[in-house]
């Protein structure tokens, strides 16, 4: 009975493939092994939606065994055998990954850290088998969490501005603060972060990591007040993504106190970007003025030659 129930749950796990974590075939096998365990720490969570923002309730590494009580999710409707506080496979994975983050400074972004995380939750070390051996899912989980945290932070700042309790920042200051806030989330893991970056650049991780990068940059610009609806939408995000990536690289090699050189570098890059924007506008207006001048000259010539008559 229990085996059939666990197999069905594993089957549902295969169907609900999240965009960030992928579903390797061996998950079902290990999932069934994990389903039989102590139920006293099971709490209910919202079902993972297809959006990447579902991690927002989890501050990184914080209280991994406590989740806010939410309403039952729909998967319990699928069979009378699941108990009311059944936790789906993905929620379990999220909890394991969040717990594993504590062990990253010691073990790096590896299956070892995940195994230690599982152990800290009272699960078998074999739970790490649910994930890829290269630690990709752990890194993607972490990046996703950081992005959600950034999103919440920016939203709260916006609320304060709307309430009139805070001054509205200028665009360059806003972006600088946003990128700095986001990069500061890497500080606890900065030793092992180069390893994480190299893993994220593996071909099979590139779609997911690119997705996370673009959504983060989109968030930053949105809260900075970007309302462009033309090609600027793309150029602005591309420029900010470039600034973020280069600053991240500088940060990994920075040994100054509190990463002062990194923030200095960031300030210069943002200033460069702003200058580039202004220059582009100036070039455009000069170009327009030039075109108008040429058109005026052409009309004059046509008038002189008597060609400009109303048809």
């Amino acid at each position: 009975m229990a085996a059939a129930g666990s197999l069905r749950r594993a089957g549902w796990g295969l169907l609900r493939c999240p965009p960030v974590l992928r579903c390797p075939a061996q998950r079902a096998f290990y999932a069934s092994a994990l389903m039989r365990r102590a139920s006293d720490e099971q709490k209910q969570e919202l079902p993972p939606s297809s959006s990447q923002q579902r991690y927002e309730s989890h501050p990184p590494g914080d209280r991994p065994d406590q989740e806010p009580q939410r309403s039952h999710h729909s998967y319990t409707d699928q069979g009378g055998e699941e108990s009311e506080d059944y936790e789906s496979e993905e929620q379990l994975q999220q909890r394991i990954l969040t717990a594993a983050l504590k062990f990253v400074p010691a073990h790096g972004w590896t299956a070892d850290a995940i195994a230690e995380g599982a152990k800290s939750l009272g699960l078998s070390v074999a739970a790490a088998g649910m994930f890829h051996t290269d630690g990709s899912e752990l890194i993607l989980h972490f990046v996703s969490q950081c992005n959600s945290e950034l999103s919440n932070l920016l939203e709260q700042q916006q609320k304060l501005v709307q309430l009139g309790q805070a001054e509205k920042k200028k665009t360059d200051q806003f972006l600088r603060d946003a990128v700095e806030a986001r990069l500061r989330m890497l500080i606890p893991y900065i030793e092992k972060w180069p390893q994480a970056v190299s893993i994220l650049l593996l071909p099979h991780n590139i779609p997911a990591s690119l997705n996370l990068l673009t959504s983060m940059v989109d968030d930053m610009w949105h809260y900075a007040g970007d309302q462009s609806t033309d090609i600027n939408w793309y150029t602005r995000r591309a420029v900010l993504a470039g600034i973020y990536n280069t600053t991240e690289l500088v940060m990994m090699q920075d040994s100054s106190s509190d990463f002062e050189e990194t923030w200095h570098f960031l300030e210069n890059r943002i200033a460069d970007a702003m200058t580039m924007g202004h220059t582009a506008k100036q070039v455009q207006s000069t170009g327009e003025a030039l075109v108008q001048g040429l058109m005026g000259a052409a009309v004059t010539v046509k008038n002189l030659a008597g060609l400009n008559q109303r048809r």
Partner: protein, 217 residues
């Protein structure tokens, strides 16, 4: 149409603090509020609405450029004021979709610079065939756009007419405007254009391709 939306950032903010939100709506110069039973960033079918707004924005942008091209050639002829008036309506449409794009955080199509040039070229090119050519182009394009808006309205109604009521109203009004342009084109001797049916078919195929690409890219 505009009076259906409240333009009040205070009320919008008070509406938002009541419950958890993933995104906050920008309340800069253009704050739109849809009634709480309608579309909010959280409860819509985001991929579908994304596509709809992206392709409609691209379409209005292209229509703008087509009329600009026609005006560049025929602006000082007798048919100039007619084209100008239709162009002004298209400008209003584009403005509306710009607002919607910001409100729903929709990515614009990356082909916009291409539609910029292609639209102007189409408008100027058909205008060089004479005013009948320009009117034929208008008829072809407006017919495509009306059919496209009708399809979108069908999709939205199938999904949830109540939730998408405001968007449906917007699209309906724009479709009616486009049909009006289509009729104006016919009134101004569009069918007398050289190779009318060939021209019309070619333009409509181009429109279909543009719609297909703009939805995705």
């Amino acid at each position: 149409m505009v009076c259906a939306f409240l333009v009040n950032s205070q009320q919008l903010f008070l509406c938002l603090t009541g419950y958890e939100r993933k995104w906050n709506l920008q309340t800069e110069q253009t704050s739109l509020r849809f009634y709480s039973t309608g579309m909010t960033l959280d409860n819509i079918n985001k991929p579908d609405i994304d596509r709809i707004i992206r392709v409609d924005h691209a379409g209005e942008y292209g229509a703008n450029r087509i009329y600009a091209g026609q005006m560049a050639v025929l602006g000082r002829t007798t048919v100039g004021p007619v084209i100008q008036q239709m162009w002004n309506q298209e400008k209003d449409h584009l403005k509306k979709f710009n607002e919607l794009m910001v409100t729903f955080r929709v990515r614009p199509t990356i082909l916009l610079p291409f539609w910029n040039v292609a639209g102007f070229a189409l408008g100027a090119g058909t205008a060089l065939l004479g005013k009948e050519g320009a009117m034929a182009c208008t008829v072809a394009v407006e017919e495509s756009i009306s059919a496209h808006y009708n399809n979108q309205m069908r999709t939205l109604m199938e999904e949830d007419p109540e939730k998408y009521k405001e968007l449906l109203q917007i699209i309906k009004k724009f479709r009616d405007d486009e049909l009006e342009h289509h009729d104006i084109g016919l009134d101004h001797d569009a069918e007398l254009a050289p190779a009318y049916s060939l021209l019309k078919t070619a333009i409509q195929i181009g429109c279909k391709a543009a719609i297909f690409l703009s939805e995705r890219i």
